[in-house]
Symmetry: C2
Subunit: 407 residues, 2 copies
């Protein structure tokens, strides 16, 4: 293929931020420069929106020094979107692709973004437009089917485990009940990562609640009471998506109960709602039962989970770069598209390999925590710890006077 015949490529980023999403972007840019089969490499601003509006960032000549800084920067450097294109939207995308001779489309995102990639790919085939579409995985939720795990998860898990590690010492120094609400509407992987903070049996988190294990008010209160009786304190980590046995989320239940408040609006749909409500529940019900002033606090860990800088998991950062490079390598060998997945080839020492899986195998679908990772409705198993530990890197070094007793 001569230089003038080279197809151009568009790369876009989509969905919620991670701290390594730009590692994948830079992986694509680096590999495209190395392989040389792509003509112009265009960064689409704000996901698919930038394709339609032809709002492109030229990526062929960005200095390496800047790229390496961008790779370490949280959140989509090109901008993101939650747009999901329909057929009419796709027509506009193809018009832009045709006009700019775009033959490769790389889309970095989660299962919604994989679905966008699938729609674009299928409509391209139908309309006879020659286009290779690659989904490059990214989600802190770790909820993509087929994928052993997803770039973005390891760093978010590292943040969560570290925050909870610190919070465990905070809770030791001023004992009480502490609740940390952790991201994950449908899958509990990120909340479960809090378990990596434990060094021994007395350490928190003492209770871990994920959406996969339905939780009743009675169980929560009984759990907290038992832990408090044993340790004189209790550190709880709960997913924002924890469910009641009827399949409704706790947040839905709390919100619907509060629609009838004096303000007539859904004020409790904000981010602190669930944590505050759990704190109030425990304070009221257990405080009364235990006949004392129970110290109960709640934090909702919030956006730092997905965008705290300078604290990425080195493994996660390297893998995010790798899947970006792999997508470009595959595009050069004639592959027509798919999602770049990782497979664990060895647990000890930890090792992975990449492979291509059809977009349909990932799009829209949500992977939940398997039963082998869940224990008793309030904990995770050693199998989960073995699964997650290699993904987060070393946690901060800590120490305690308790170690003197242990020896």
């Amino acid at each position: 293929m001569s230089q003038t015949q080279k197809g151009n490529a568009v790369i876009g980023q989509s969905g919620g931020p991670t701290v390594v999403i730009n590692q994948s972007l830079v992986g694509v840019i680096q590999e495209a420069r190395k392989v040389g089969h792509i003509g112009r490499l265009l960064g689409s601003r704000f996901g698919v929106r930038g394709i339609v509006s032809e709002d492109f960032q030229e990526l062929n000549d960005v200095p390496v020094e800047l790229l390496e800084r961008i790779a370490q920067t949280p959140a989509a450097a090109l901008g993101s979107t939650r747009d999901k294109p329909d057929a009419a939207y796709c027509e506009k995308i193809f018009a832009s692709f045709a006009k700019n001779n775009v033959r490769y489309f790389f889309y970095i995102g989660g299962n919604d973004s994989a679905d966008t990639a699938r729609i674009v790919s299928e409509l391209a085939k139908k309309s006879g437009y020659d286009l290779a579409v690659f989904h490059i995985p990214k989600t802190i939720d770790n909820d993509l089917l087929v994928h052993d795990h997803t770039p973005g998860y390891g760093s978010a898990a590292r943040y969560v485990a570290s925050a909870v590690l610190g919070d465990n010492f905070d809770n030791r120094s001023l004992p009480g009940v502490k609740i940390d609400i952790i991201m994950g509407r449908n899958a509990g992987f990120l909340t479960a990562a809090a378990a990596l903070a434990r060094r021994n049996e007395a350490d928190g988190p003492h209770l871990i609640y994920v959406p996969e294990s339905p939780l009743t008010e009675d169980k929560l209160l009984a759990d907290v009471e038992a832990v408090y009786a044993k340790h004189g304190r209790c550190l709880i980590c709960a997913s924002e998506g924890i469910m009641a046995p009827d399949g409704k989320t706790w947040t839905e239940k709390l919100s619907s109960g509060l629609e009838a408040d004096s303000h007539g609006n859904q004020q409790l749909s904000g981010t602190g709602t669930l944590g505050d409500s759990l704190a109030e529940l425990i304070k009221t019900k257990l405080g009364a039962k235990m006949n004392k002033k129970l110290r109960v606090r709640a934090d909702t860990l919030g956006y730092p989970q997905r965008s705290f800088p300078g604290f990425a998991s080195p493994v996660d950062a390297a893998e995010a770069r790798l899947v970006g490079r792999t997508a470009v390598q595959l595009s050069a060998t004639g592959a027509r598209g798919g999602s770049i997945a990782m497979r664990r080839t060895s647990s000890s020492p930890y090792a992975i390999e990449t492979f291509l899986t059809p977009l349909e195998s990932v799009a829209r679908l949500t992977k939940h925590m398997p039963a082998e990772f869940l224990d008793g409705g309030n904990n995770v198993t050693p199998a989960f710890i073995r699964y997650a530990r290699p993904l987060i890197g070393d946690l901060p070094v800590v120490g305690s006077f308790d170690e003197l007793k242990a020896t």
Copy 2:
């Protein structure tokens, strides 16, 4: 003084955690070993409580390797308390001190802890008990009078500036209004530190609200609207203690307004309340005015500000160690007590020296942000940036495609 005549010492930790409070503890232990004028060095568990119950951790022989790990560990390694001793409580403290031949008392904490130290010191004098009492400063609020700044602040400020740095990129990639609620009930130093995240005029935080500058609903809404019109997004950092012009905190106002809700309880007194309420206010009032679906989110940064591990400011960690060592050195030279303060001897390059200030000059009192640090009720001045920048260490490296335009 012969070995048998050496007085013993008690060290305790008090108040809310910081990530460097154990640096001060280890500084005391190290210096006591070096100087040798102290007999037994006893760590009081859970502040003054451990003195009364004689719950002591022997510190003379703790291995250095463990001490260095404890120094890097967030929150009081000896345990903390919010107890404030009265005369009767102090009687029990002296009984314990006398029984254990304690002649030096080191207390690490904020202005409440300085007040405890003052009370103990004064009652010791009155009762003719020979006791040197040293307050070793620690507070993320940075609100001690006389002190240029306090150990614990630099690391909390580093966390806040970093979280907001990441959140700014998050907000760029998915534009909208984002509110971050930052610790600081009475003083705005920690919230103000968010300004250190800015690299240029377009960067957030675009609005900074501190307790020292009263804030009306009208001003908040006008500010947000103006920023949104200019940047298409708005990142707000507000102290948990922001005040209305009548001197009441916003949280008080919101809570009192909500006591009348359908549940009949103060459910909005939890930690996410203020952020959620501000988000609701902006969404309702501005969303209607701007005639579109305004994306508004709120995070309450919570305990990670005071206990996130592995991310301390190196300057802060070194200074926390230094004030601990200085307290012991002064105790060896015959000083009878006081609070160990820092004075800035040079701004460029940054340099400090320690000095002793009377307990009364620090106890109970709160330092507020001076007028020269405040700008227009929604920002901080370059003078504040110059003051705070040297305290937090280097922020994480980041980069943006915008830099290409700038050159």
